[in-house]
Amino acid sequence: MSKARTLAVTGIGAWIRGAADWPSLRGVLRGEHGLDANAPARPAANPLPAAERRRAPDGVRLAVEVAQQACSMAQCDPSALPCVFASTHGELAITDYVCETLAHAPQELSPTKFHNSVLNAPAGYWTIATGCTAASGAVTAHHYSFAAGLLEAASFACSEQAPVLFACCDVASTGPLAEMTRTTLAFGMAIVLAPAATGGARLDWSLREAQSDAPPPVELALRTVAGDNPANAHALALLAALAGRESAGLALPLSPGLYLDMEITP
């Protein structure tokens, strides 16, 4: 087991159809209310200029929305904030479009859709919209994407002793690819991680070796919210701990023999 390190969670953002911000989702996680059937179908993504918002794919809108919520709650200036964006699959609708177009009319591939297909599109749009010139990353690790991205962000915050924005987002899969990717809904979350003395919720973390690959502690009721995507389920498990009123332990798998062990004190 690695030495435990401490960070603060100073801002939280979340978006899912039916809970368009962290206070709404926190209420759902606490069992205070259900998802709101009348909530907006798409994230507002206000930091994007209007023209960019029209052009931006759904995953980008989702990432920009939750990142903005987290920065706003943390009262930090995004322009100097390093960021790490994680995703299991990236822009699934664009992957479907690109592969479909290549199969039938490769010369007609849209240049905008092509450059929006990169996994770092959310990081790109976010840094452009906020004028952020700090380091920006895009991390993926299939079913371990949430914990892998969180590890990248946490190790950045601890090694540089600086706040970092972390976001994890996936959109619903479409087309023939859906059978392989199995993500049934759009869900995104973001947190601002800061050196421990900053205030906010406390996050103690370390790596632990273990052979078992136990399912994450996500309550059955939340499985549908996770949309069949393990990274979403892992993200919800952390958010549930942050929504709680007492300290809670959480172990999320990083690989088939390694866990990201956390103690969350809201």
Partner: protein, 398 residues
Amino acid sequence: MPRHIEPLAITARTATSALGHGTAGHLEALAEGRRGLRRNDFSCAPLDCWIGRVAGVEEATLPARHVHWDCRNNRLAWLGLQQDGILDAVGTAVARHGPQRVALVLGTSTASIEATEVAYRRLEDGRFPTDLRRPEIHTPHSLTAFVADATGIAGPTLTISTACSSSAKVFASAERLIRLGLADAALVGGVDSLCDSVLFGFHSLELASRQPCRPFDRQRDGISIGEAAAFALLERAEDVPDAPRLIGYGESSDAWHMSTPHPEGRGALGALDDALARAGIAAEQVDYVNLHGTATVKNDEVEAKLLPRFSSRTRASSTKGFTGHTLGAAGALEAVIALLAIEHGVVPPDLGCTDALPEAQPWLALQPESRNIDIALSNSFGFGGNNACLVFARGPTA
């Protein structure tokens, strides 16, 4: 400014690209100025361009126990892992430190999307064909998950996918993991393979040349796409005084445009300053710069603005005229080329350039040069304005 970091040793490194399998072929081609590009014979429909294709990828077969990972990108990864004793070096590190104490951080832009493209061409009743119904290869993490399986690495395992800076940034992520004591060693690298997505994608953006690419030439008109697999093993430096070092890195964002660099190179300069600060050196101390040099009109124009930061004796070149732009593998491939430059005292020429941009000309090596190189730097800039800069140095007793 970031703080100075402790150097890490690079105890093994390898590269496979259009220049050959392993570093020997690379060194020979770079020293002789021999190009690895050929006319496009890859895309599903004709496309008038040149590509850096690796010979023998189709014939490379994965061991039976890894056959569920089979796809062209993983074959290229496997071919790359067979060279320069890298697999043995990783095996030794895993045995010495323990599987969970070795990290794996790989960069890729498109990973095994080629397999997904093939599945869409061969749909059966609207579904993927049976042989391609393997979720683990239709994800951008397919490469890293396969390499973890193939090497027995079980430590922190992540894919960095920031387009063309992906496998430069892996060195930074790995350094942080080792510095924090979360791993004792890290296999880093990048693998990207030819696929229709990038060939037709760069064509649609009008960024691909019909000729072999000409980095920093006044007549340059776009990239040649290539493929590569390159790896490096990073370990703490104290026990290996003669191994070359990773001494610094810098990362930044342009905050400008998704597919065009900032006109004054703001982000690129930020990454360079960051890298020099971490290395604790001045720009004047750099002997060789492996430029990003994609041969697009904009990239080279902007990157040339960085060159006056260096001393008049610093030599610089892009090696994309040799290998093509290997996208998510470029950072690691060109890191290995920078290491070869240090180890063998070779400055690779800026192949393809005959009429150099005047503002870059004083630094550009147009012919192979032989000279002592103690410190080499490598630039990588990607879509979304994502920049990384790596600094390598000769080992203290080498």
